[in-house]
Symmetry: C2
Subunit: 230 residues, 2 copies
DNA sequence: CAGTGGTCTAGACCACACC
DNA sequence: GTGTGGTCTAGACCACTGT
């Protein structure tokens, strides 16, 4: 029963009945709504809190998670300057376009080859030092004419959520090492052939469908990728 | 109260009163033992199950987690062949010695400089193809004369647990890119200057103290590091 | 069959936040 | 003060396991 409740609440959020940042009804109201006891609702809410879909504040209420800067930092941004603490870098937009998905992109986003996708190129910098080249690919079907906007905010997941009702809540990163090519060298201010980290990410929405395919090329002299294992 | 119960159970495990793989008393017996209700014990046990310190099987009982191959694979081994599924590679022992901790090692293991540490060198291979060079550093105080053994098992965390009552349960990986040096090239069968992943891990025991400092150099042509974010 | 964990319920009380 | 989530308790029943 608590899993059904969980599924129902998730459905309500996907349908936009409860939006990001909004407060849900209290445990007892939800219990009445779904015809179960307060304890059962509680178990569902806590499970969803563990998945970071909801968050709760004692004395206040239960809310749909927003991708705030804090959240994004802890859950989805793992590139850190060597001596320092996690921090969000600036992002400089280099270009946006609509292209047709090749085989690689189609596979990553679970589309058919040739489907329209939006491509974003950005250069990110920390403390004025360029550190990451990002290529971001989005299904056109979900994001409409995003590529025609003049600017983008730095925190994309928050933006996806606010403007397109796309809630990123899971992701999978594949990390490799490579040598800096000419574009890397020019953009990141490193010698060609220097080692770089390549992080390929596929991000998934609440419904489990892939919604973003992102490739980051990171200079490795002063930055690393950090993973906590529990 | 449930946090106190959690702390007590953890303490019992650290003291070796309940050892890896053993079954704990039932929820009601624990409730009597600690003077709380069964629901409170349950909450503590479930929290510890989430941290992978315990695992529970319906109809059977609650057990102290063992680092089985399965566990190790999912929680602590994230290097994967490009096309394939996660898999544990062979390990070929290259050498073991007792050395004095330099500043870097002392900082990682929270020891004073000059403390004795055990150093292990291994070469790991998947499907007969060499893929990882590992340097493993252990505090001598916890692992005694491990370096005098003629052989080591492939799954070290299980071995630490069985032979030295050291339960690894958290770790932190820092990932960088580098160029293959002469030793990498020779051992991993790649050209010098090829890109390699460098994974530095500090592993922590149940009591939160660092117990292993491991540096892995991974060939990046056919392997990657995999991270799941939730 | 007996013993275990898994779920659901109901009620009480506490801690906290906001008005 | 009122309403919220957080904790603790107690009891019932179910599902699963091993004998």
């Amino acid at each position: 029963m608590y899993k059904q409740v969980q599924q129902l609440i998730t459905q309500y959020i996907i349908e936009g009945r409860w939006k990001a940042g909004e407060m849900l009804p209290s445990e007892f109201q939800l219990a009445d709504l779904f015809g179960v006891s307060q304890g059962t609702v509680r178990k569902a809410l806590n499970a969803m809190t563990d998945e970071h879909i909801l968050f709760r504040r004692q004395g206040v209420g239960t809310f749909v998670s927003e991708h705030t800067l804090q959240q994004t930092l802890f859950h989805f941004f793992h590139i850190v300057a060597d001596g320092g603490t996690p921090e969000l870098p600036n992002a400089q937009l280099r270009g946006m376009s609509k292209i047709a998905a090749d085989q690689r992109i189609a596979a990553a986003l679970n589309l058919t080859e040739g489907s329209p996708v939006i491509r974003i190129d950005r250069l990110r910098a920390m403390h004025g030092k360029p550190c990451i080249r990002e290529e971001i690919l989005l299904p056109h079907a979900l994001f409409g004419d995003l590529h025609l906007l003049p600017e983008l905010p730095h925190s994309l997941y928050h933006f996806y959520q606010q403007q397109y009702q796309v809630n990123v809540h899971k992701a999978c990163d594949r990390i490799k090492a490579d040598l800096a090519n000419a574009d890397d060298a020019a953009a990141l201010d490193i010698p060609p052939g220097a080692p770089v980290l390549v992080v390929e990410r596929i991000a998934k929405a609440l419904d489990g469908k892939p919604v973003e395919y992102r490739t980051s090329r990171v200079r490795s002299d002063d930055f690393h990728y950090l993973v906590e294992l529990n």
